[in-house]
Every structure is written in structure tokens, then in C-alpha cells.
């Protein structure tokens, strides 16, 4: 296992911007499942409601709004930012990438980097690592936007994705720091599992054809198009339950980290049951496992910054630092895990885009 080391970087703040619309699962899924089954599913996944965009709004809009708020509240001048990075698998367009629009709308200087990282649920760890290396390289602040408009690719008649998937946009500001904190990162990749979570059509391998827009019915009664997200829930669960739990465990072992040294375990909010069981397997007390999925659903890789923004202000330790273990896992198949610090002097907040 390779462990990557980062020092001299800190998080100045994280803001998440929720989309306009709240959807209650009980109402939204009533045609998909019999009533008893739906009650059981909501109980087991722990996801009662989800936030989704109105048509025309994208996660990039939300991330930019989150970033404006973050820059304002941390009194950060746009001209002090050296790079804009967007983590997303649902960019506004296939070309160009999202980051240049964010750079322009936020007034970040033109002589700066702007690029996307095309990752799904493991993406935040990638974004944080790459952004941190750029903070070190430039000795400047870096803006990391993470968000997805999953609802644009979720079939409303697909049983495995509708009850869990949501949208959000987030902004994380990183800056150089002379404190002694060291962050550690590790990554895991297994492309042999790429078929279990994917959007079949719309890429260069399978450009969208007219019949890809027809709904097809599958054995479980789900109906979706080739341009919608397909998830083999069982195989994804197996990957998290077996590969991810082992990988995170090994990471802790390599670093001689015990659960009592960690204040917060912040996993990707796949669903509440999986998070609870993963925390248990890794021997974290349940109150150390930070959650947000019960409130906001599973919005993809941005579930981690959303969860930090949602929990940070409630959980500061006496020293003012929250020693945190974050881990994202999902499509690829892919895992990221990191030990980072969340500081008390950072700014953390959740806002919501107006409109219904």
C-alpha cells in the first residue's frame, strides 16, 4: 500500500449548497414499491428525503454559489486563488470542463489552473490530494469544487438508484499553513468492476443513439434508459463491505492509527445502513461516524464535504482540531482514504439555492 504524505496545508472552510427541491422518498417511490416494502427500504437505507435540482440547475451552479459564500465569509480575495478544481462525473458539458466557468464566474485570475477530475463517489479524496499538492507547489490558496447532478441521470423508475441518489454542490478552500499537521492519503483502483456502476451510453465508446432514449424494463421491474445510471446494488455493496472495509482497515494499520485516535470517521454516504455497518466493522463508536445521508441522501463524491459542513461546528474537540478519517468508494471501482485535520478556525456552512 502506497501512502502519500501532505504537510503544510489546511482547510480554510467548506460550504455545501443544496438544490432547490426536497423530495420525500415515501411520496416519490410510492409507485415503485409496495407500501410495506417501501417502509422497510426507507428504514434500512435510513434515507427519508433527498435534495434534487430543478431542471436547468446543475451542481456547477450550486458549487459556484457555495464558493461565493465561502470566499465572502472567509474574506478571501478571488485574486489570491491559484487553481480551481472541479470533481464531478456530471459536468455541464462533456467539453469544456466545469472549472473554467467557475474560475470566470468567481473572478479567479485568468493566469491560473482550472481543470476537472472525472470521478464518482471516491472523488473527494482525489480532489483533496491533488489540490493539496498544488497549494504546496504554488504556495497559494486552491479552490476545490465537488458536486454532481445525479438526478439528470437517475431514471425515476429505477429501483436501485431512485431511493438513494441526490444532488449537491460544495466548495472547499485550501491554503498553505505552517502548522505541523500531516495528512495521509491512499488510493485503490479495480477497473475489472467497471460494469457494476455505470452510465452505458453517452460516452465516446457508445455515443447516444435514438433508441438509447427508450425505457427498457428489467427483471426487477425497473425501467431505465441507456443514458441513465445503472447500479448493481449487490456488487457495489459487496465491494464496500469487503474491499473498502479491508482497505481502510489496512490504511489504519499501516499508520498505526486506532479508532480512539480518530475523532471523526467520515465515509461516503452510500446509505445509512452501510455506513453504520462499516463504522462497526472498523470499530468506531457510532457517535464518531459522521452522517448526513439521512438528511440529504447520497449525492456522490460530494457527500464527504457535505457531511463535514453539516457536522463540523457540532463536534469540535478541546484542541480545536478534529482528527478525521475520510473515505469515498464507488464507481471505477475506486476507493480513496485519507487522514486529515478539520480545524476549528475554518468556516463550515450549508446553504440552499432559492426557488421551488
Amino acid at each position: 500500500m502506497d501512502i502519500l504524505d501532505i504537510r503544510g496545508v489546511k482547510i480554510s472552510g467548506i460550504v455545501a449548497c443544496l438544490p432547490e427541491r426536497v423530495v420525500e422518498n415515501r411520496a416519490d417511490c410510492e409507485d415503485l414499491f409496495p407500501e410495506d416494502a417501501l417502509n422497510n427500504i426507507i428504514k434500512a437505507t435510513g434515507i427519508n428525503k433527498r435534495y434534487v435540482v430543478n431542471r436547468g440547475t446543475t451542481s456547477l451552479d450550486l458549487s459556484i454559489q457555495a464558493a461565493s459564500h465561502l470566499l465572502e465569509k472567509t474574506k478571501t480575495k478571488a485574486e489570491d486563488i491559484g487553481a480551481t478544481i472541479c470533481v464531478t462525473f456530471t459536468p455541464d458539458n462533456i467539453m469544456p470542463s466545469d472549472a473554467p466557468l467557475a474560475q470566470t464566474r468567481l473572478g479567479i485570475p485568468k493566469d491560473s489552473m482550472g481543470f476537472d477530475i472525472g470521478m464518482a463517489c471516491s472523488g473527494y479524496g482525489y480532489g483533496l490530494y491533488i489540490a493539496s499538492t498544488i497549494v504546496r507547489g504554488l504556495n497559494k490558496k486552491v479552490l476545490l469544487l465537488d458536486g454532481d447532478t445525479q438526478s439528470a441521470y437517475v431514471s425515476k423508475t429505477d429501483k436501485s438508484t431512485v431511493p438513494v441518489m441526490s444532488d449537491v454542490g460544495t466548495a472547499t478552500l485550501l491554503e498553505p499553513s505552517d502548522d505541523k499537521n500531516r495528512w495521509k492519503f491512499s488510493f485503490y483502483t479495480d477497473g475489472s468492476g467497471r460494469e457494476v456502476l455505470k452510465i452505458p451510453a453517452g460516452g465516446a465508446k457508445h455515443p447516444t443513439q435514438i433508441d438509447d432514449l427508450d425505457y427498457r424494463e428489467y427483471d426487477d421491474g425497473s425501467k431505465r434508459r441507456e443514458v441513465d445510471i445503472y447500479m448493481d446494488g449487490f456488487e457495489v455493496y459487496k465491494f464496500v463491505a469487503q474491499d473498502a472495509s479491508k482497505f481502510i482497515d489496512r490504511f489504519m494499520e499501516e499508520l498505526d492509527l486506532t479508532p480512539d485516535q480518530i475523532h471523526a470517521f467520515i465515509p461516503h454516504q452510500a446509505n445509512m445502513y452501510m455506513i453504520k455497518q462499516l463504522g462497526k466493522k472498523l470499530k468506531f463508536d457510532d457517535d464518531k461516524v459522521w452522517k448526513s445521508g439521512d438528511e440529504f441522501g447520497n449525492p456522490g463524491s460530494a457527500s464527504i464535504p457535505l457531511t463535514i459542513a453539516y457536522n463540523a461546528n457540532k463536534h469540535f474537540t478541546n484542541s480545536g482540531e478534529i482528527e478525521s478519517l475520510i473515505s469515498g468508494f464507488g464507481a471505477g471501482l475506486s476507493i480513496s482514504v485519507a487522514k486529515i485535520n478539520i480545524s476549528r478556525d475554518g468556516f463550515y456552512n450549508i446553504i440552499q439555492k432559492e426557488g421551488n
Binding site: D36, A37, F234, M274
Partner: protein
Amino acid sequence: MREFIEFIAKILGMEVEDLSQDTEYESIPQWDSLMHLVLVAEIEDKYHVEIPIDEVPNIKTLGNFYGYIMR
């Protein structure tokens, strides 16, 4: 076993007669991946057992679930 099957039948919304300890995951439309999680959560709740997360994907039949209750 009968009581266990009755409990499962109620969750799946099926008749007891249509289930047995040999009923397999995905052999019936009612038992899909989401329902698999539901079954784990409900069984853990009712029988006060813990099924470790890494063992959940190895459970293929209702008999496998029953094995956790009997431990």
C-alpha cells in the same frame, strides 16, 4: 424455522408456502439487493444478532440467514 420463514414472508410480502430455507437471493423478484439490506437490518433487529458487513454479501439463501440466528 417456521417462525423465521413467517417473519421473512411478512417482510417480502409473500405467502409462507412460497418460501423455504433454500430460497435464494434474486430467485424471486421481491428479494433484490435493496431487500437484501432490509432483511439483514430486520433480522439483526428482531433476533438481536450482528451480521458483519463483510459477511453480508456471502449470504445466498434464507437458510444462510437462519444460521446467524442459531449461532
